[in-house]
């Protein structure tokens, strides 16, 4: 102990709600152990002590919405050996990517008492649109068990084990009655990436897609099923336009049901 340098962990924030970095502080039983294993070199929400890079593992929360942040993420990438995005904002642009569907001409003027205002980009985009990303951890918010798995995996130099199957499989394993089949509740579970543990169906509501699209989702088929249940095009569109609205598969499906 003490002779070998501990791996340096950095946590970065872009446009976000802070909830995913909070998930690390929510690991109440493991936090102090994690802090022993890694050197927390940059984590402003937790510490005012910061170290210069390079960093062994950077966790990135939030999406890119300003020219300054587009510049900053490049610096973060340069200083990081491994860069992992945490959460729907960093991985798919987040809820704030709903702006991407608006025609910017609609934003005629920004009401300000003073004109000296920071520039905002027209879109909210995921980190991978700007720099290479080593691993994307899904969720809005991320699952803290999965976060610990990611940190652990990179500490020993392996790929994290976070299944890319659908929420349906988690739901079956929990022994839930299918909310869509039994009750006709619209549920994004069949096309949504696993990881939450099928929380929504366990609480008698339909999944709303916090973890984004699973691998090769059949969104068109799911939409047809909802239409059979009586959902209108605007309703179907709205369900796909949630916290992962700008994730490719969800974006395309939402665009198939109106502008």
């Amino acid at each position: 102990m003490g002779k070998k340098r501990r791996p340096r962990l950095a946590v970065w924030k872009f446009a976000s709600c802070d909830g995913c970095q909070l998930s690390l502080l929510d690991c109440e039983d493991e936090l102090l152990a994690v802090a022993d294993r890694v050197e927390i070199a940059y984590f402003l929400e937790a510490s005012r002590a910061t170290m210069k890079g390079p960093y062994d593992l950077s966790l990135v929360e939030g999406s890119i919405t300003t020219p300054q942040d587009a510049e900053r993420i490049r610096k973060v990438r340069k200083a990081s050996r491994v860069l992992v995005t945490i959460g729907a904002c960093a991985t798919a642009g987040g809820i704030q990517a709903l702006r991407n569907f608006k025609d910017v001409k609609e934003f005629v003027s920004i009401v300000y008492a003073r004109p000296d205002y920071i520039e905002t980009l027209e879109t909210s985009t995921p980190i991978s649109d700007h720099v290479p990303v080593d691993f994307e951890l899904r969720g809005c918010p991320i699952n803290k068990r999965q976060l610990l798995e990611v940190i652990q995996a990179y500490l020993v130099g392996r790929r994290p084990n976070t299944p890319s199957e659908s929420v349906c499989l988690e739901c079956k394993r929990r022994g839930n009655v299918c909310v869509m089949v039994a009750r006709g509740t619209a549920c994004l579970g069949p096309v949504t990436h696993a990881g939450c543990g099928a929380i929504c169906p366990s609480y008698d509501r339909g999944c709303y897609g916090c973890f984004g699209p699973m691998e090769t989702p059949n969104t068109a088929s799911l939409s047809r099923e909802w239409a059979h249940l009586g959902a209108t095009d605007p309703e179907i569109q709205r369900v796909f336009r949630g916290v992962n609205a700008y994730a490719d598969a969800f974006r395309k499906e939402s665009e198939a049901h109106g502008k």
Binding site: A35, I95, R99, I199
Partner: protein
């Protein structure tokens, strides 16, 4: 030495991105700016056109630290618009989940964000090397708060179980049994935690604030009440926008709140709640406050760490009371039918009053949304405190003064992510 600048580029141990600039000329503070440069996310803009039922889940995403507060203000505002009242066990469950959030959010701030300032550490992880018991105790309390949210809400951050009219699913009485055991232990730990914070070294710093909080006929306020102040303000929540207005300042992406028809800043949050509702605390919380040296009115913002600790204790105690009285309702939510109109609500987020207003059409589609989070309301007070504090301690060495300025800001547990979600956009309509 006469002219100098205190500048903190990136404030640490706050939620979100902000900085600080204090300008001193001839030993006088001439300018103070709490700079908020968190990128705006335009929530009010994209809430337009969404269904009312989506508001709790969408607005939760404004803040990962206090999502329950957003969900509570959203559902109460919608119910206000639709003329629905939720009472009995469903109302109690809402109060219980709010207790969870107060505990979780306050414990995070007390131990991990604020305490290191008093004991001279850059963070709680390094503080834990010398004071492991204190940090572990607080993490245990925090975990108990998160357990309430996870049980009633499905998960700690962005819970999924809150809806207009109640919940998607309610727990059985039996399911709350293990939680009660956890909370009893947390309550004991919370008593110790109050005692410990009472012994921290506090700078002499009292200000003559106007405190604003909710006040309820018999409860310590969470989801309901009138808006009152120590200078005679007493209004219904629907008059919020007549009493308070927002204005833009060049150095902040968050609008500043102030009184509409008079000068002066106002303070929201634990200090305001405590000072205006001391008589509504439970006996155990009141007693702990007294033994920690808190009078029934506290004007020293540095002591907010003690007040937060008292509120943690109260929330543990209150959640236990609610569990004790709980009987499972026969349905998880009351039926709600959208009608066209406007609804508003104000609830007590951990950091203070959080106001929501929605205008809805007859199908329940949101036409307009307005959200006023606590941190934007506290910005003026924070800047006033900084001005006063720096002026009174102008002789402190640069680094020490800078540290104290950061502590002065952290007294308010500012949530910059919350404060900045709402740059106003004007839409052109055809």
């Amino acid at each position: 030495m006469a002219n100098r600048k205190i500048k903190v580029d990136y404030l640490a141990r706050v939620e979100g991105e902000g900085g600080l600039l204090v300008k001193i000329k001839n030993d006088r503070v001439v300018d103070v700016q709490l700079r908020i440069f968190e990128p705006p996310r335009f929530f009010e803009a994209f809430l337009q056109g969404r269904d009312c039922s989506e508001a709790p889940d969408i607005t939760a995403r404004i803040c990962g630290i206090c999502p329950v507060a957003y969900q509570m203000s959203a559902v109460h505002a919608m119910e206000n618009a639709f003329g629905v009242e939720v009472d009995g066990p469903l109302r109690a469950l809402r109060r219980m989940i709010y207790c969870g959030e107060w505990i979780e959010s306050h414990a995070l701030h007390v131990a991990l964000l604020h305490a290191p300032d008093f004991l001279g550490y850059p963070d709680a992880l390094r503080m834990a090397k010398d004071h492991p018991g204190i940090v572990e105790r607080a993490l245990g309390i925090k975990k108990a708060g998160n357990e309430i949210i996870a049980l009633l809400g499905g998960r700690e951050v962005h819970p999924i179980n809150v809806r207009i009219g109640g919940f998607y699913k309610v727990p059985t009485k039996r399911a709350l049994g293990p939680l009660a055991e956890t909370l009893k232990r947390a309550r004991e730990a919370a008593i110790e935690n109050v005692r410990w914070t009472g012994e921290l070294p506090f700078p002499e710093f009292e200000q003559d604030y106007e405190f604003v909080a909710l006040r309820h006929p018999w409860e310590y306020p969470m989801n309901e009440g009138r808006l009152v102040s120590n200078r005679g303000l007493t209004i219904a929540v629907r008059d919020f926008e007549n009493a308070f207005v927002e204005e833009q300042v060049p150095h902040s992406h968050a609008l500043h709140s102030r009184f509409a028809n008079r000068d002066g800043a106002y303070l929201v949050g634990p200090l305001a709640r405590y000072n205006l509702n001391h008589d509504r605390l439970s006996p155990v919380a009141r007693e702990a406050a007294r033994t920690a040296g808190l009078a029934s009115v506290c004007r020293n913002p540095f002591r907010s760490i003690v007040v937060r600790s008292v509120e943690i204790l109260y929330a543990c105690d209150e959640a236990l009371r609610l569990i004790g009285e709980y009987e499972m309702p026969d349905r998880p939510a009351v039926e709600v039918r959208p009608i066209a109109g406007t609804g508003c609500a104000c609830t007590e987020a951990p950091r203070g009053i959080l106001y929501h207003r929605y205008r809805l059409d007859d199908r329940g589609v949101i036409q307009e949304a307005k959200i006023v989070p606590p941190t934007s309301q506290n910005q003026k007070v924070i800047e006033n405190d900084l001005r006063q504090f720096v002026q009174a301690h102008i002789d402190l060495p640069e680094e020490m003064l800078g540290l104290r300025c950061e502590q002065t800001i952290r007294n308010y547990d500012p949530c910059i992510s919350c404060a900045t979600h709402f740059l106003k956009l004007k839409y052109e309509r055809d």
